[in-house]
C-alpha cells in the first residue's frame, strides 16, 4: 500500500483521504498496468502507422521498410490500375450499403430497445433469436441467405441479400448497445412528461430521443463500421458486384505492392471522416441542449 502501515493505524481517516485525492504516491501496480496500457496502445497503433507511412513511397517502394522515396504514386496506382480491381465501385457500394444498414439499425434497435424495457409475451424467444443471430458464424449465415435466394429464384445483390445479412448482425449488436444506453435512462422523466399531458409519440420525440441521442449516435457508428467492414456475411450474398472488403480480399491475394497500403490509408481516412462527423454531431447536440437548458 502507498502509506506506511503505522500511518494507517494512527490516522485512518486521513490516510483514506490521501489515497482518494491523489496526493499519495501511486502503488506499484499502477506502474505495471500503465506499462501494459502503453504497450497495448503502441501495439494497436504501431502496425497501422507503419502502413500509412509505407503507402507514401514512390514507384520503387516495397512492402517493408526502409522507405523508398516519397510520393503519392501508389494512391494514383490504386484508382487507375485495372489489376487492382474495381476499388472505386466497391468503395461506393460499401458506403451506400453501410448508410442503409446504419439507418435501419438505428431505427430497429431503438424501437427494440423501447420494447425490451417491459416484459412481454415471447420476449425471451426474440431475445435468444437475437443472440443466436449475433453468434452465428457469418459464412454459415451467408451460405443460408445465398441458398435461399437461389431457391427463390432471386438475384442476390448487395442492396438486397447482403443488406439483410448485414442487418442480421448489426441489429442484435445495436440492440445490445441500446440496452446498455437505456439502462441509464430514468423512466420518471417519461412519467413526468405523461403527467404533463404528452402523448406517447410526443414523449418519444421530445423526451426519450433527445436524452438518448448520444447513445443513438453510438449505435449508428457501430452499425456503420460493422457493415462497412463486414466480409464473411457479404461473401455469398453480395451478388455479381463486390463490396469493398471483398475487393480488398481479392487484392490481398493478387497484389503485392504498396497500393495495398494506399488502400489501407484511404479506407482509414474515410473511417476517420465518419467518426469525426459523428462526434461533431454529438458535440452539436450537447451544445444545443446546454443552450436549451440555460435559456429556460
Amino acid at each position: 500500500m502507498s502509506v506506511p502501515p503505522f500511518t494507517v493505524a494512527r490516522f485512518p481517516a486521513r490516510a483514506r483521504r490521501r489515497t482518494l485525492d491523489g496526493e499519495s504516491r501511486r502503488p506499484w501496480t499502477f506502474w505495471v498496468l500503465a506499462g501494459l496500457f502503453t504497450a497495448y496502445v503502441l501495439a494497436l497503433y504501431g502496425p497501422m502507422l507503419c502502413i500509412y507511412v509505407l503507402s507514401l513511397q514512390d514507384v520503387r517502394g516495397g512492402l517493408v521498410f526502409p522507405m523508398k522515396g516519397f510520393s503519392l504514386h501508389w494512391f494514383v496506382d490504386l484508382f487507375t490500375q485495372v489489376r487492382t480491381g474495381d476499388v472505386k465501385g466497391g468503395f461506393e457500394r460499401s458506403i451506400m450499403l453501410a448508410i442503409m444498414v446504419t439507418v435501419l439499425t438505428v431505427v430497429g434497435s431503438f424501437l427494440a430497445g423501447l420494447a425490451f424495457r417491459n416484459r412481454f409475451k415471447g420476449d425471451g424467444i426474440v431475445f435468444y433469436l437475437m443472440i443466436g443471430s449475433l453468434v452465428a458464424p457469418g459464412l454459415v449465415l451467408g451460405i443460408g441467405v445465398g441458398l435461399l435466394f437461389q431457391y427463390l429464384g432471386l438475384q442476390a445483390s448487395w442492396y438486397t441479400s447482403a443488406l439483410g445479412a448485414h442487418l442480421s448482425w448489426t441489429l442484435p449488436f445495436g440492440v445490445l448497445v441500446m440496452f446498455a444506453v437505456m439502462s441509464r435512462f430514468d423512466r420518471s422523466w417519461e412519467e413526468a412528461a405523461r403527467d404533463l399531458g404528452a402523448t406517447r409519440w410526443q414523449i418519444i420525440r421530445m423526451v426519450v430521443i433527445p436524452i438518448l441521442a448520444p447513445g443513438i449516435v453510438a449505435v449508428a457508428l457501430f452499425g456503420f463500421t460493422l457493415s462497412y467492414d463486414e466480409f464473411s456475411r457479404s461473401l455469398q450474398t453480395s451478388g455479381p458486384l463486390n463490396t469493398l472488403p471483398l475487393e480488398i480480399w481479392s487484392m490481398t491475394l493478387n497484389v503485392t505492392s504498396p497500393s495495398l497500403y494506399a488502400l489501407g490509408t484511404v479506407t482509414t481516412l474515410a473511417s476517420f471522416l465518419i467518426i469525426g462527423a459523428c462526434l461533431g454531431a454529438i458535440a452539436l447536440i450537447q451544445k444545443k441542449r446546454a443552450r436549451g437548458i440555460s435559456s429556460h
Partner: protein, 305 residues
Amino acid sequence: MSQIAATETPAPGKRIRPAGKRTGLLSWLYVSPLVLVLIPFFVVPIVVVLVCSFLEHDGFGGMIPNFTLANYAMVFTAELTWKLYLSTVKFAALTWVLTLLIGFWIAYFLVFHVRNQLLAIGLFLLCTVPFWTSNIIRMISWIPLLGKNGLVNSALISTGAIDQPLEFLLFSDFAVVVAYTHQLTIFMIVPIFNAMARIDKRTIEAARDAGASRFEIMRYIVVPLSRNGIALGSIFVLSIVMGDFFVVKVMSGGGSASVVAALFEDIAVLQYPPAAASSVILLLVVVVMIALILRTVDVRKEIAR
C-alpha cells in the same frame, strides 16, 4: 391531444401502466422491425442450411432432393474434421485467454487507476479508435513488422540477438493468434470497462478499511462484479474466432486451417450439402459454447438493469 392525454395519463400514485394486453401489443409493434429482419435473414437461412445438409448432391453444384445422412457421415468420419476443430478450438482458447487477460487489466487500469475521469474516457476512446478502421487492413499492417525482412527481425538482427530472421513471426499459428488478439481485445475491454465503471468505489474503500488485501479485493469484489462484462466479452470473442476464416487464411499464409476455412473451400467447389452439414455442426458447437456462458450469468437481466 388533451383527450388522448386524458386517457393515457395514469392515475396518480400508480407507477407505470400495468403490463396489460395493450403493452404487449405495443411491445410487439416496437420489436417487429427486429423480428422482420431476424426471420427472413436468420431463421429461414438456417433452416435452409439444415435442409440442405440432408440432401444428396451431384458434385457439380446441383442438389438432388433425396434424404440422406451421407453428408454427416462424411463429416464425422473424416479425420480432417477433428483436426480442424482441434485447431479452431486451440485458436479460440488462446485468443480468449489473451484477450481476457489484457482486456481485464486494461479496463481495470482505466477505471481504478486513472483518477481523472475525463482522462480515463479519453484513454478509453484511444483504445476504440482502431476498431473503426478496416480489420483486413489492420491485419495486413503486420507484414512490415513481422515479415522476414520486417522491423522486428531487422531489429533483432542488428542487436545481434539472432543471425537468421525468425520465420515463425509471420504466416504461422503465432501470427494468427497475434492478429486475433490485436483485433478482438477491444471486444473484452468495452463490456468489462462498462461493468467496472458501475462498481461503487466506496465498496472497495470499505473493504480496504476492513483490512482486505489487494488480492482479496480482486477476488471478492472486482472480479464478481465484472462477471457480466467478462461473459459478454467472451461471447463476442469466442463467436468471432469460431466463425472466422479470414484471419487464419491470411495470417497463416495457408499453413493452418480452421473449420470455416474448410467450409469456404467446400463452397468454392460448389459442394453445398457437405458444407451445410459441416455448418450445422459448427453452429451447434458455437451455440453450446455460448449457452454455457449464458448459464453463468443472466446477460439480459444484467444489461437491462
